[in-house]
């Protein structure tokens, strides 16, 4: 019977202590300069929640690293994570709030082609630096781009063409697309079709499904009867997992190679070895590249140490590099002033986790490698050993759409 009382007393005492301390701590913080704040809107809930959670874990690593190294002359960085619920409207509201109310210096984040464009609209207008860590083609194009817009992730054009160049000569030219009906899916299909021109691929069908659908069985008999060489799943997260699972149940793999532009580590972990066996796809990062890439080993070890021996996921790693490039540019510029940080970021050459990278100056797209991976079900060393790296596209501006094509002059 004593319990409620104790709790109440504790709360009162705690509140009093907080009230007493806060004005002081505020003053101290002001004396050293306010913390460098990075707003981080990602879809913590919903179909991409698992990936978003890992983005947060990795972003926190970059923040901690910066602070442990002394910050910017003692000024520490902090991450303000917000749930954008995979909804463009929600993301715009949260971003505006981060800028207006929380006074963030920069925005890093988003995990959807559509959501990042909506965040970009807000940051563009408010002249706040935004580093996007999810795939989009539109964000590179002049009409959506601004000086404040950076794109850390791969984009559908780069990814699809790398995967297409690997898959079409090897597995065949008769192709069916199963596509999530939004910007990401459409851009991926376009990328594959463009890459496929060189190989004379034949698109038998492009079947669109709503984002977040739970049952794909109704599309599968038709795909089965078309007997394509390659089925490209242009969807993401849980959608990709469910579609692959159900396609496997329908026995599609006996006639058709399942390909996905982005073969997610998280989806493979959730779906298991049998579901993904033999599925080929692209990725921006796979932890297994540490055997050949020193930076990957360093990054993985940091993650293992911080998170109980786990390994970072592909999109998670983008959370790390997305935040770290901004903070490194702050350090290089020696100030938090947006214009100077942008200039430093445009000059940045970095190798944080997957080999050398830099931002192309016309559109601020990070020029980087693409890995082609195949999911395996045999000969795995431990539970995280799930993919074989079957190809690496080296970073090369030739694989990007040209600046002119995007609408830039030079």
């Amino acid at each position: 019977m004593n319990k409620p009382n104790t709790t109440r007393r504790k709360i009162i005492a705690g509140a009093a202590a907080a009230a007493a301390v806060s004005p002081f701590s505020f003053n101290i913080a002001r004396a050293q300069g306010a913390p460098i704040r990075i707003g981080f809107p990602v879809p913590l809930t919903g179909p991409y929640g698992v990936e978003a959670q890992d983005q947060v874990r990795c972003a926190e690593l970059a923040i901690k690293e910066f602070n442990d190294a002394g910050g910017l002359k003692g000024r520490k960085a902090e991450l303000l994570v917000r749930d954008d619920k995979l909804n463009p409207g929600e993301a715009a509201t949260r971003t505006l709030e981060l800028i207006e109310k929380d006074k963030v210096n920069y925005i890093v984040g988003s995990l959807s082609a559509a959501v990042q464009l909506s965040i970009n609209n807000v940051t563009k207008e408010r002249k706040v630096l935004f580093n996007s860590i999810s795939q989009s083609d539109a964000i590179n194009e002049l009409k959506d781009w601004s000086l404040y817009t950076f794109h850390e992730a791969l984009n559908p054009h780069i990814t699809a063409s790398a995967v297409g160049r690997y898959v079409f000569p090897k597995y065949g030219k008769r192709v069916v697309f199963l596509t999530a009906d939004y910007a990401y899916g459409h851009e991926m299909v376009r990328g594959f079709q463009r890459a496929g021109k060189a190989f004379n691929i034949e698109t038998l069908a492009d079947i669109r499904h709503p984002i977040g659908a739970s049952d794909y069985s109704a599309f599968l008999p038709r795909i089965q009867s078309l007997k394509p060489d390659v089925l490209v799943m242009c969807n993401f997260g849980r959608d990709m997992l469910n579609a692959t699972k159900q396609a496997t149940d329908f026995g599609l793999k006996s006639t058709t190679r399942i390909v996905t532009p982005v073969l997610l580590f998280t989806a493979r972990m959730a779906g298991g070895a049998d579901v993904f066996d033999g599925v080929v796809g692209g990725t921006s990062y796979y932890w297994g590249m540490e055997s050949t890439t020193p930076a990957a080993k360093v990054f993985n070890d940091k993650y293992r140490k911080a998170y109980n021996g786990g390994v970072p996921s592909d999109y998670g790693a983008l959370g790390y590099s997305g935040v770290r490039t901004v903070l490194q540019s702050v350090k290089n510029a020696g100030t938090t002033e947006t214009d100077k940080v942008i200039a430093a970021m445009r000059d940045l050459k970095y190798d944080y986790f997957k080999g050398p990278q830099y931002y192309r100056n016309c559109d601020h797209q990070s020029v980087q490698s693409v890995l082609i991976i195949e999911s395996k079900s045999k000969g795995m060393k431990d539970k995280n050993d799930v993919f074989n790296i079957v190809g690496i596209d080296k970073p090369d501006e030739k694989n990007l759409r040209s600046c002119q094509e995007l609408g830039f002059r030079g």
């Binding site: 913590l44 809930t45 919903g46 179909p47 929640g49 698992v50 959670q53 009906d181 079947i207 669109r208 499904h209 709503p210 977040g212 659908a213 739970s214 049952d215 069985s217 109704a218 599309f219 599968l220 008999p221 038709r222 089965q224 009867s225 849980r238 997992l241 469910n242 699972k245 159900q246 149940d249 329908f250 026995g251 959730a270 779906g271 298991g272 049998d274 579901v275």
Partner: protein
């Protein structure tokens, strides 16, 4: 253009899809028909059933045990819900239990997130039911055939219970006129308790049955709730034969639309509902006046 085999295979796919709808709609209709409670937590019970089943599977390694345990666990939660939360709201109008169950669904979702995390669980198809079999018109997943069979068995068992047992007689009488049944000296509140438990138990078993096909995650009940309401509206709120017929019809409409106009598949079932509401507002087998 599209050959007969493909069309027939699409029909079978539709029946398998419809099976899940049938099970969900039966539970929903049972509860609404007897208690006039619009159970917005039905999708959450479905989700809890999937989690309970997967958990039992993880503990025992036996899928059949999981199928048996899921409805028992969810049914018990249902009994508790009715007794503690829903019962005080009887006689206060239809929106009270509706709002209660709506809130309850969020509580269930967040509880599951707290216990199992937001990642969702993975459950493979049980070994005995893996792979696709040739059903004459093409290859079809064995598990989905099992799903159709299991649904038929559950519906048949429920029919036997309601039509052929003494308890079923009381239930049917209670649905017609609760007042008279009470006058006859039967404890109606106990009947209602059991109905709620039974309805939620069926939601639970459909959760574990659907788990090997769909991903198991805390939000899995949200889309199915909307779909099962479409089914109950089409079939007639509170009608069990309506739930069966409409469930299969909705599955079929979705499946056939997917074949010809995949973009419109999602929309098609809502168009079906709109048409039914325009020409037969009470649904195929519905009685008028239940909502008032």
């Amino acid at each position: 253009m599209i050959d007969l085999n493909l069309f027939l295979l699409q029909v079978v796919t539709g029946i398998a899809l419809g099976s899940v709808y049938v099970l969900l709609a039966i539970g929903l209709s049972l509860i609404f028909g007897m208690l006039t409670v619009v159970n917005f937590a039905h999708g959450a019970y479905f989700m809890v059933g999937a989690y309970a089943g997967v958990w039992v599977l993880g503990q025992t390694g036996n899928f059949w045990l999981a199928i048996a345990a899921a409805p028992l666990i969810v049914g018990a939660i249902g009994l508790l819900t009715e007794r503690v939360l829903v019962r005080p709201l009887y006689g206060r109008g239809i929106d009270y239990p509706l709002l209660l169950t709506f809130g309850l669904s969020y509580v269930f979702i967040d509880l599951i997130r707290m216990i199992f995390g937001i990642d969702g669980l993975s459950i493979g198809t049980p070994a005995a039911l893996r792979g696709a079999v040739d059903i004459g018109v093409g290859h079809f997943p064995l598990y989905r055939l099992f799903l159709i069979g299991a649904t038929a068995a559950i519906v048949f068992a429920l029919w036997l219970f309601i039509e052929k047992t003494k308890y079923g007689l009381i239930i049917r009488a209670g649905a017609r006129d609760a007042e008279i049944v009470r006058v006859l000296g039967i404890d109606v509140s106990r009947v209602w308790l059991i109905i709620f438990g039974l309805g939620t138990a069926i939601a639970g078993v459909s959760g574990i049955l659907a788990a090997p096909i769909r991903a198991v995650n805390p939000e899995m009940g949200i889309p199915v709730l909307a779909e099962s309401f479409v089914v109950t509206v089409v079939g007639g709120m509170g009608s069990l034969p309506g739930a069966v017929v409409a469930g299969l019809l909705v599955g079929m409409v979705y499946s056939i639309t997917s074949l010809y106009f995949p973009d419109l598949a999602e929309l098609s079932i809502f168009v079906l509902m709109a048409l039914v509401l325009m020409f037969r507002p009470q649904g195929f087998f519905g009685r008028t006046g239940l909502m008032s």
